[in-house]
Symmetry: C4
Subunit: 508 residues, 4 copies
């Protein structure tokens, strides 16, 4: 994109723009004026100001897609080329925090000691940078929905069958007509490089090895083509789409994706605006210069309300509506799926309009808090489709997916028994590669495989088709219970009973 007759700027000139009022930086040999972008930077202004007037490449590279700066900054802020002779070398400083995290990384348990998907999260929290952890783990408002997403699986119990020959069990399936070794796919999640330098490529490689499908996110921190290029021959990929206010950009993107072999387009419909994620927002204050925060407070002119999520998402069109569906059908031949449906009425509308399926999801609890879990909505959708259209699920013609809160193969199996074609898993894989890179994702998928084998056998289901509605008891799924507030006075008075006691105080 750099014009051949590009302006050349001296390092000295750049170095003069080293304040909040005028802030230039050098990335990959080019000069950018980021003054107006400081408050929008997902990682906070502090880290940019550290490189004001300097070469930020070494800091930039590990966590941004190559084209992040060129795409996000308006062309007039692309000031030109720097004369390399005149630039002072910048050494990326190793902070105490960096050293602490290195120690944590060195202390990680071996991968074979990681026994389940919860383990990855526990380890990732300890080895990840605070702001990366906050971005991945945060959710909307009081973070009720994110936790309900998992809790709902605990309201569903199994009704296993015995005395079936389960010597051979097979849990592979087809998703939108494509083979998958398990009834799950890697769901789209943004900013993979926050957790690991290889970002989303970790997922691509592991998906190839395990024959499962990766859904590429619009907001990946690797570029779309990098991710597609990393795929093995014949490897299937889907694309998650945030629709741009400028429909031409969206059209080009979708048609490019189809040309590159993408087999399903998941249009996100639950994010006309990104949710308020307060953990993420709080972290931003730490990443900002405290003096500035107070100063801006006085002036009242800085909206700091959306943490890392804001800048990267401002292009998303809140005007997207049902009227746009025919247009999508005109620009793409691949199956179109709506991602983020939360009631049967909208699922039915999608079906009636000829779409290929819906993802029942509350966006990992990151959008509207108190949106019900995908699994709960699934039960409602299956019931209403039976009643209104006489069709049952799983169904090849119109496929139902759920995501959010899945941690065990048994969770996946519950969703399948209730009518889902497959389940999307997101955060657990992020945590897996944040802690262990590709090997972590590989191990996570291996664990799921082991769990599938065991659960299919114990459930008495030899194939995914044998995972049927009668195998689960979901009668409590719609109950949203909040206990009456605890009677603190009464219960404080209750003195717990004791066990028989050892005669000496054990050293343990």
């Amino acid at each position: 994109m750099a014009p051949s007759s590009e302006v050349v700027i001296s390092g000295k000139t750049v170095a003069e723009h080293n304040t909040r009022e005028s802030c230039w930086i050098i990335v990959h040999g080019r000069v950018y004026d980021v003054t107006d972008f400081l408050d929008d930077h997902p990682g906070g202004s502090k880290i940019i100001l550290k490189y004001a007037g300097k070469d930020a490449t070494a800091e930039y590279d590990p966590i941004h897609p190559p084209d992040a700066i060129t795409t996000n900054l308006p062309p007039e802020k692309h000031l030109g080329k720097v004369d390399p002779e005149t630039v002072e070398k910048v050494v990326v400083e190793v902070t105490d925090e960096d050293r602490r995290l290195q120690e944590m990384h060195a202390a990680k348990p071996s991968l074979s000691e990681v026994l389940n998907l919860h383990d990855f999260e526990a380890i990732a929290r300890k080895v990840m940078q605070g702001k990366a952890w906050a971005y991945y783990s945060s959710a909307a408002d009081d973070e009720i929905a994110i936790r309900e997403n998992h809790a709902v699986y605990h309201r569903v119990w199994f009704r296993p069958r015995i005395l079936r020959d389960v010597t051979r069990v097979d849990w592979s399936t087809k998703i939108l007509g494509q083979f998958s070794s398990m009834p799950l796919y890697i769901s789209a999640t943004a900013l993979g490089k926050l957790g690991h330098p290889d970002g989303e490529l970790n997922l691509t490689w592991a998906a190839a090895k395990h024959n499962i499908i990766q859904m590429i996110p619009t907001l990946a921190s690797c570029s779309f083509d990098q991710i597609v290029d990393a795929a093995a021959p014949g490897q299937v990929q889907f694309l998650q789409l945030y629709v741009n206010k400028d429909r031409e950009i969206t059209k080009r993107f979708v048609q490019h994706a189809e040309k590159r072999g993408i087999k399903g387009l998941f249009i996100t419909v639950d994010a006309p605006q990104l949710g308020r994620r307060e953990k993420d927002m709080r972290m931003k204050f730490e990443a900002d210069d405290p003096a500035e925060v107070r100063e801006n407070d006085k002036q009242g002119d800085v909206d700091r309300s959306q943490g890392a999520a804001r800048a990267i998402s401002s292009f998303i069109d809140p005007g997207l509506n049902w009227g746009d569906i025919p247009w999508f059908q005109s620009i793409a031949k691949m199956p179109l799926i709506l991602k983020g449906v939360q009631c049967w009425e909208d699922a039915l509308e999608a079906y009636d309009r000829g779409l290929a399926g819906v993802v029942l999801s509350n966006h990992g609890g990151r959008q509207l808090d108190f949106g019900r879990s995908g699994l709960e909505v699934l039960v409602e959708v299956v019931e209403k489709f039976g009643e209104k259209r006489g069709i049952s699920f799983p169904n090849e013609k119109f496929q139902l997916f759920v995501d959010g809160g899945v941690r065990r193969a048994s969770d996946v199996i519950k969703a399948v028994a209730l009518g889902a074609t497959a389940v999307g898993i997101g955060r657990p894989f992020l945590y897996a590669f944040s802690a262990y890179g590709l090997d972590g994702v590989d191990r996570a998928l291996q664990i799921l495989n082991d769990e599938f084998e065991m659960n299919m056998r114990l459930l008495g289901a030899r194939t995914i088709k044998e995972v049927v509605r009668d195998m689960v008891d979901a009668s409590s799924i719609h109950t949203h219970l909040v206990a009456v507030p605890e009677d603190k006075l009464f219960h404080s008075n209750y003195e717990m009973m004791q066990f028989a006691q050892l005669k000496v105080k054990p050293s343990l």
Copy 2:
């Protein structure tokens, strides 16, 4: 009120009355005999006795309405004017506690770091004086109802709609015919100066800025006229009314209010007697002289049973009844609303008698503990009105309000979806100004605005009219669950599973 031929008393004479047996104080240059009032003082006797025989003005001013002493003391205790020359100057002492609170105030996070209404409460608790905190935060008996008020919102979940063009969303509405920028109003709460020297005026000013309606409390610590005078041109205010045993006083007050432009009269009907609030009562013992407490105990003649709430409320008429309604209708033209209705039978009675609406409320949990939450009663009322009178809600002719426990715009939206015209919010604003004054209330309203914008979009509702019953699942709202007592022996034996462990003890 001071008669022109007022008695003049020398400071020396006053100084002789410096004991519990005879206690005179000087306020604004006048002498009062407060001996009999000591035990009734909401702030305890100790603080008055400190000024026995002295000038208490500097201590009095920051926390009392100007006319508090003249109104509360019978005329015969107004002894006359003091000769200013003869009075010793009193220096208000700065205590260790004062200094500690000043430090806390200095350490407050900047307002932009305050992200939700919970934050104000967390900060207020740390920066407020103990007795003020106790008065604001306390509730009746075991404080079950106050917590249920919030918990009930967590039994209601959303059923959001997708693919609606939500580029523009508008959450303004009309309350009793008056414009409001949000479907909420500032509910009446007493004794604002306990939290901040400007007291209720903080609310008036912030309400003006945000175009919302303030309900002025009878028991404000600023005078009614001060609050009305502080309003901007055209600013709408409501009045909350405690009905006096002397109906003439009430009549004068109501008619004065109507003359001053008040647009709605909210008659409190859930407080024939103020509730026992034990946190507040306990605090009173600290504010009293411990030696006295023991002494009085022996004599058994002091009723210390109602903390700060008692003295200020003794005028309230427990005899108020349905027979008084026509009289109210005869003395006021503005809409009359009953505040504190807790079952459909009484709501229906109010409707049949031609009132303008009801506030479904348990008085913030401060009156009858185990009164159900306003939100739960709302569901019952809407259902029964449909059944008995064939009308639906929201309804302009008869408006339903709820209050108690609201902390998020999403809470407000749930109430609106269930049929409320608007929701009252009280304590959160008290906490906001106790910590940050006017700026705090301003910020609180800004946060609510931000939350409304996000939630309306994510819910797929472009106007308040589009917030409909189908958008919520309230099927668990009537369930009052108390778990079977925990099996302490069994659960103590259960050894929690462990995650894979880091090899070294992290310093974190």
Copy 3:
């Protein structure tokens, strides 16, 4: 009873019987052989052995009814009179524990600081001897029922009425035709002297002052006549009856009671055997000599299975049955009530057999664990009586009572609304006098009175008759919920959200 020609024994002879093998003690100048009684002593053998061969009167008096030893020991163990000249004086030793408890007593809050019935329990636990606390507070098995007894009240919520003239409220009522100032009575509980030297007399005196009814326990530690003698003129008392295997003893007791003016006989039917109360049992090991415990263990011949409850209850007849009812009806004219009914079938049987009422109770959770609470059974009984016999409650002809778990006047009011004539309160009064003697019980009743006044007003009920079924929502009362076990791995991973933080660590 001591025969005129009583044997006289020298102190020296007594002193020789100072071992576990032969253990004599002196009480009130008489000699008893307690060797065989050592293992049955509710307070453990250790304390008796301390006085083996000595005068135990000073230790005995504060905690036993005068006739305890004469009644419990078979006549042949009454050895005779001691020659007072020959007995060494015994000084009751003040232990470190005694000193600690004295300090605790001195540190008690003043009574006016005690605001509710929970307070008495919190204080009693700190000032009572361990074994007394264990006897009072313990319950059967896993102590689920004792806690459910209170929890059940939290599943019942109020539906208060407004705009009724509640200037005057009156919560007095009639119980079995007798006036009571409140719809409650003091329930029978054993061994009052464990908590206070005046034992049950504290209750008698306080009941007189407050015009309420005391139910005298068979197992009082004051004698029956002491308690009746302590009553004020016209004071009403009931009697709780454990039926003796020897019916003649029971007959004499009942007829004596009736002669002394007892107005109601509550026959305990839920205790054919006393429940296992493990807290109490564990305490017994501490009260026993540890060496002995191990020794007996080896011999396997000591049954230590029932703590303080055993010895005092061995006379109770497990053979008591419906066939005995006519006999009771033949020996007493006063109303007969069955205490400890736990299902509608038995309540109906009692009604059909002409009894005056039933106490729906699980014996304070001290007998069969997982027996439902009286309040829950009440709802079932009222419903079934309506269905089977067409009668409603409260009902003068057949009265329903409940006990267990009551801590607030609001609890009592809930029971009355659901059909109870009155409610029994036991432990809270024990804790009140254990901490403060008579003044404690007086204060407890005063608190209940204050609570009644407030609650009657806030509920809109001017008399007990106006406390009706519609005033409560008990729709969740039969739900026995146990949450699915917590997902420890998932929830450990969830990192709690934080509030905005003060900039410095507050000293608080």
Copy 4:
């Protein structure tokens, strides 16, 4: 089995095979090549490698059945006899951990202080070796089912009957036609010697004393014949059967058992593959050599996924199915019961195929997590049998059993009231002998007996036949509740009410 012409190997030769690459050990004078077995060893490889090239007999004996090594190692790994003269004596080292456990054992409370079955678990945890504790206490996945097994009993409440002559109560019964002094049996659990050197014999001896029935496990660590030989004359034993892939082995075993007098065959049908028990798996890493773990990790070739359970269970046939039932009926005359049925459909199938009964069980929560508890399934089964076949329970012709989570006689009684013939108890007896050997099991049974006596009396049931359906309220049994995630911000803000406080800080 050792051939007469066995090879003789010198101790020196053996000593050369002392590495992971070639590992020989001596047990009972014979040499075994265990190189390939290292990773399969339930106790980890580390302990074997410690004896590589040496005599392991002293370490082997206390925890293995005599024939464990001969059965588990293929014949070609049985290398021959060692020349005893040439073997160095091995002294079993006493580790710090051993010493700590010895101290713990010495500090155990006396048995008479053990009051309930929970106590044994609390003590066992402190006195057992970590890996033994992990094997016994672990369960599948998130360990939800294991805890639900107990929790379900707390959703069932009693409806006791009064005024029945309960002087004599009798809780003996018949199980599959055999007398049992209580309606329970000792359920089959594996590897008894992990807890105590006498292993399962502790159970045999105690069962004889108390006249109850022991179910012998296939995976006992004493041999089958040892256990049968230990039985008293006339003592009844059942056999639990894991079906071998080689049906001939199973046939020989079953027919041998029948010949030895076994009275019932419980065929396990819920374990085609053993569940993943992560506590057990984590413990294995500690038992392994950490260097090895990392090394193997790199090579990716060690499957360490099933802890102690794997090696011992690899023979189990996942192909077992309904088609095998006639074959079982052809080889055995004793009653055949399916152990591990989890839904009514399979129970009905078992009935229709002429089996003698089913054990409704989720295998102590060790197989499929979220399998419902046996008690809950029991309610469903009884209801469906009534509906489909018109038969009721308990029923001599087709008997229902449940196991899992039982800790009290009251739990057993609930199961019987709901239709079970008897209940299986497993872990509590393991914990009892792990802490106290035979005396522990004896005490556990004595406690259960005491509890039965009390509960039968208090329930008003004189015989097991009188324990009827109406005596329990199980209306909440099918409710699987998971509370809505806690509102952490709101609840953190709630400041707990305080009790009245002592004036000084008690030393307690």
